[in-house]
């Protein structure tokens, strides 16, 4: 054992044990990536007015998050970009059935960099690559493939699709110019400086984008989770939702 061993051991122990000190009460929130700014803002405000509560946020594709909840990942509140995934968890009794509330809706747009020529769904087959969220787990991708199927261009587009992990990644691909364009939500497009909305996808081509929030079975047992959950159903999130470009139900 060298001389440096003991200090090294102490350092190791300190690193391993740090964070296990007295912790604030943690409320785990799993939210669709398109809701990031809204949840961030609500959490910051809530943590300020409730010292001792820490909102731990996990953003991703709603389907991937639902799968994590199924697998037992810590999540007390689930904010999904699609009713389907909440319904699935409801059937599995992993969320409180009477807690499910739609708090906002959104719209699908097609974005691209300056100079990309696409003014409607029928122009898409002429492009070489477009990004969508993976339809298996990303609601924005599901809505996008639904819209392409309704517009009868799905077959022509099949080999042009780059599947992103979530809607923000699809936006990133379009921003970097790695793809000609991407299907994202109106709210995401609004936040991007390097791409513009080339066209809005006609609403009759896809289901309404609704954001239901739900209290999970694990969350129902935690008063702190229930308290933060009630905030979502109150009037509190409305101004920030509106500011970010969401439509209120």
């Amino acid at each position: 054992m060298g001389k440096g061993f003991r200090p090294a051991l102490f350092l190791f122990a300190a690193v391993m044990l740090s964070g296990s000190a007295v912790r604030a009460e943690e409320v785990f929130v799993a939210a669709a990536h398109s809701m990031k700014e809204v949840v961030d803002e609500l959490s910051a405000g809530y943590e300020k007015s409730h010292p001792g509560v820490k909102i731990v946020r996990n953003y991703g594709a709603s389907g991937a998050l639902a799968k994590q909840v199924e697998a037992g990942a810590p999540a007390y509140i689930f904010l999904s970009a699609s009713v389907d995934w909440v319904e699935r968890l409801k059937k599995l009794r992993l969320v409180e059935a009477d807690s499910v509330t739609v708090i906002a809706s959104n719209a699908l747009v097609f974005v691209g960099r300056e100079g990309v020529k696409a003014a409607g769904m029928n122009d898409l087959p002429a492009l070489s690559r477009i990004a969508i969220g993976s339809p298996k787990s990303v609601p924005a991708g599901e809505y996008a493939s639904q819209a392409m199927a309704s517009a009868k261009i799905a077959k022509k587009m099949a080999k042009k699709l780059v599947l992103a992990r979530d809607v923000r990644e699809a936006l990133l691909y379009a921003e970097r110019g790695e793809v000609d364009g991407a299907f994202v939500y109106r709210t995401d497009a609004k936040r991007s400086k390097s791409v513009k909305v080339l066209f809005e996808v006609p609403q009759e081509l896809y289901d309404k984008v609704a954001y239901p929030v739900a209290l999970t079975a694990a969350g129902a047992k935690k008063p702190a989770a229930r308290a933060f959950f009630d905030l979502f159903r109150s009037a509190a999130p409305k101004p920030v939702l509106k500011r970010m470009g969401f439509t209120l139900p």
Binding site: A61, G63, E70, R88, K136, V162, L163
Partner: protein, 228 residues
């Protein structure tokens, strides 16, 4: 239960692995030779550069490749001038595999080259063999085990490549979606368990076959080493 794009993912993985391995063989052999026999300043630096992808997170390799080869990357003007598009094509997946698999190839070939008695080459040269003759009739045949072992390891590594591939080749079903990417896609989807499981079985099966071949080669090498 598997859909056509899943079969395409399996085939694409094999194709990318084979292309990456075959493309790397000449350079891999040259670099291994340089490291085995060469005495020059900065050899350590070459070793570190060659082995770096072995220890770097693949996602770092992928990100650096993206900065280099992306549509707005460092080499973009050159690639555009040549009319080459790499990013989000299967060629990008091959490049990613070449970078991460190269050190494995070099290591295996280098070990087998170092085991060759240098006197053999010298003797052949005194007997009038050209450098070319010495290369193809002594060095290549005697290090064939190492070449095959390195190639099989590199191929196996390519099959598992994920971090770098997803960044530079994207995730395009039927185009650039390799086996690990297809599994990842299913793994993130509720209800994707059975398809993910099935593709995992395929993945394990391919890896077992490749590793079996690799083990068989190294055992033969050991046995012949003992008897010879």
């Amino acid at each position: 239960m598997l859909v056509p794009t899943d079969y395409e993912a399996i085939l694409l993985s094999l194709k990318v692995g084979a292309a990456a391995t075959l493309l790397s063989l000449p350079a891999g052999f040259a670099v291994a030779g340089l490291l085995a026999f060469g005495k020059f300043r900065g050899k350590m630096a070459v070793e570190i550069v060659v082995n770096l992808p072995l220890t770097l997170p693949p996602v770092v390799v992928g990100y650096l490749l993206l900065l280099l080869l992306g549509e707005r990357g460092v080499l973009a003007p050159l690639l555009h001038a040549l009319g080459i598009r790499l990013i989000f094509t299967w060629k990008a997946a091959v490049i990613a595999s070449v970078v991460v698999g190269f050190p494995l190839l070099v290591r295996a070939i280098r070990i087998s080259l170092e085991a060759i008695d240098p006197a053999l080459v010298k003797v052949s040269r005194t007997l009038g063999a050209t450098r070319r003759d010495a290369l193809f009739s002594i060095l290549v045949p005697l290090s064939m085990r190492g070449i095959l072992a390195g190639a099989s390891l590199m191929f196996a590594r390519s099959l598992g490549e994920f971090g770098a591939t997803i960044l530079v080749a994207g995730n395009m079903p039927g185009r650039t979606q390799t086996l690990p990417l297809a599994i990842y896609d299913y793994a993130a989807a509720p209800g994707g368990e059975s398809a993910a499981g099935l593709l995992c079985v395929v993945s394990v099966a391919i890896s077992v076959v490749v590793l079996f071949f690799h083990e068989w080669l190294s055992r033969r090498a050991v046995r012949e080493g003992l008897s010879g």
